[in-house]
């Protein structure tokens, strides 16, 4: 045991099933549990990724629907990664992690949707470039 960190109870390396858990971490489980999780995550991800590449490079579905289908597949795969690789669960030991994630997703949506919304309106209301050039002194 090193003295690099403050650990008066000597419990720094251990986890208790009764306490909260950080993402990517779980109370003591057999190695098989982690390997099974990784296998499931890889399986689902391969299916979703392959589906996205197939949809984008063939004419399997109605062409205008392809971007929406790709977005749905991407969001599904992000969920798979969160559950099987980052070990975010719905359990009571994960409420803090899920709340932080929800706040992060909210900020991401505000930034992305807000930017697209505002800039598209600016674009629509902008004077055509040739008229703008005529107004230059």
């Amino acid at each position: 045991m090193s003295d690099l960190e403050f650990d008066p109870l000597g419990t720094a390396g251990r986890l208790d099933h009764r306490e909260d858990h950080a993402p990517g971490d779980e109370p003591v489980e057999s190695a098989g549990h982690w390997v099974a999780n990784a296998n499931l995550g890889l399986g689902f991800s391969v299916i979703l990724t392959a589906a996205a590449f197939v949809l984008a490079s063939t004419h399997l579905i109605y062409a205008p629907a392809i971007p929406v289908a790709l977005l749905v597949l991407a969001i599904a795969q992000m969920g798979v990664h969160l559950v099987f690789f980052l070990h975010i669960t719905t359990g009571p030991d994960n409420t803090n992690n899920v709340l932080a994630l929800a706040y992060g997703i909210m900020v991401v949506f505000l930034i992305v949707i807000g930017s697209i919304w505002i800039m598209s309106h600016l674009q629509a209301n902008m004077m055509p470039m040739n008229q703008l050039m005529q107004m230059q002194p």
Binding site: D16, E19, V46
Partner: protein, 230 residues
């Protein structure tokens, strides 16, 4: 009909059945856990605090990426007479990049399984494979950028290309820095072994690597695949 309370055992059975996780009642009926951050038992364990703090950092990093995604979405049509997104995409290369990063995420998860089993050899082997796959990814991206530059497609051509190189390049930079972190972790593991602080850093590294793969899902979908069908 029953004025007197239920026997304690029946009461416990009823409580467990109605509320198996004892939401809002930490300690699962055993009182506050020493060092778990519940009640007045002091701060949570270092392992929890380090992992949770790094999770907060990761979310802020994802917010940073969302700004670059927003810039890309806004600038997507601003080609200024230069090449558009559909002329940039090479499907096979994107496919290989995605495969390399997804597999590296998988081996990274396996390395953490070996860490939990306290198996130094397999932890190092899987970390090495993770690093090599990351190297393949960065190499493919570097060749892509060199290829584009040789065709005169550089960031200063248009607003769209600035946003494209900014977003994809920022992710590539993250993977490169994560690769350096990975080498550092392998050296620390070899010298120090599975000390608590080394395991904490491994938890954080795993989170970082998986988060980079999540960001890549967004990039290959929104930038490349949606660009190819545009």
């Amino acid at each position: 009909m029953t004025d007197h309370p239920l026997p304690a055992a029946v009461e416990t059975v009823r409580r467990v059945r109605e509320d198996p996780h004892r939401l809002g009642h930490r300690g699962h009926g055993h009182g506050p856990v020493e060092g778990a951050g519940h009640g007045m038992t002091g701060p949570a364990r270092k392992r929890i605090i380090v992992g949770y703090g790094f999770w907060i950092f990761l979310l802020s990093d994802i917010v940073l990426f969302s700004c670059f995604f927003a810039a890309f979405a806004v600038q997507r049509g601003a080609t200024a007479g230069g090449p558009g997104i559909s002329q940039l995409v090479e499907m096979p290369r994107v496919g290989w990049e995605t495969a390399a990063l997804l597999l590296s995420s998988y081996t990274c998860g396996l390395s953490f399984a070996a860490t939990n089993a306290r198996n130094l050899l397999w932890t190092q082997i899987f970390l090495l494979i993770t690093g090599l796959l990351g190297l393949v990814f960065v190499g493919l991206e570097l060749f892509e950028f060199i290829d584009l530059a040789s065709r005169g497609i550089t960031p200063q051509v248009s607003g769209f290309l600035s946003a494209f190189f900014g977003l994809v390049g920022l992710h590539g930079l993250h993977v490169t820095l994560a690769g350096l972190w990975l080498l550092t972790m392998m050296a620390q593991l070899q010298v120090k072994g599975f000390r608590p602080e080394v395991v904490h850093r491994l938890i954080c590294f795993n989170l970082f690597w998986h988060a980079l793969d999540i960001v890549w899902i967004g990039i290959f979908t929104i930038v490349y695949l949606m660009g190819a069908v545009a």
